[in-house]
Subunit: 85 residues, 2 copies
């Protein structure tokens, strides 16, 4: 174990619009009961819904689980590297 | 087998934003390479993306698989019954 971020594949499973599990999450940017914004290896993901609750968060494993009423899952493309530093 | 629509649970799995499988789909409303509109037991689902391809369609089992680059999954709430007939 080098401490580098392990690259889990980004997979998302939604059961009955109310139980969402994800792998490959690198950061939780914001969270409230109507929207969750996450960074994933494949872009930023916004989860829109109602009564959203963060159920599991294990960023070592890139795992996040959210319960609630899910209305939308919207990705933004990863930004091209533009000399951030 | 009565011929009634079997009520499979609505489950959705997205792998690496490029391979989407669903159960609990009752109808494919429209399909092209940038958008797929489906009726599910839990509302209408619009899949937005690029280079979308219908890979599997088995409405007897409520199963649909779509490959491509997925950008968004957006649900509309089921319409309340309003005397359709």
């Amino acid at each position: 174990m080098t401490g580098d971020n392990l690259q889990f594949p980004h997979k998302l499973t939604l059961n009955e619009r109310k139980s969402l599990t994800m792998t490959g999450v690198t950061e939780v940017v914001s969270f409230d009961d109507t929207a969750v914004v996450l960074h994933t290896q494949l872009g930023t993901l916004e989860i829109q819904g109602e009564d959203l609750k963060l159920k599991t968060l294990s960023l070592d494993g890139g795992q996040v689980a959210v319960d609630g009423h899910v209305c939308g899952l919207i990705y933004e493309e990863p930004k091209a590297a533009r000399g951030f530093w």
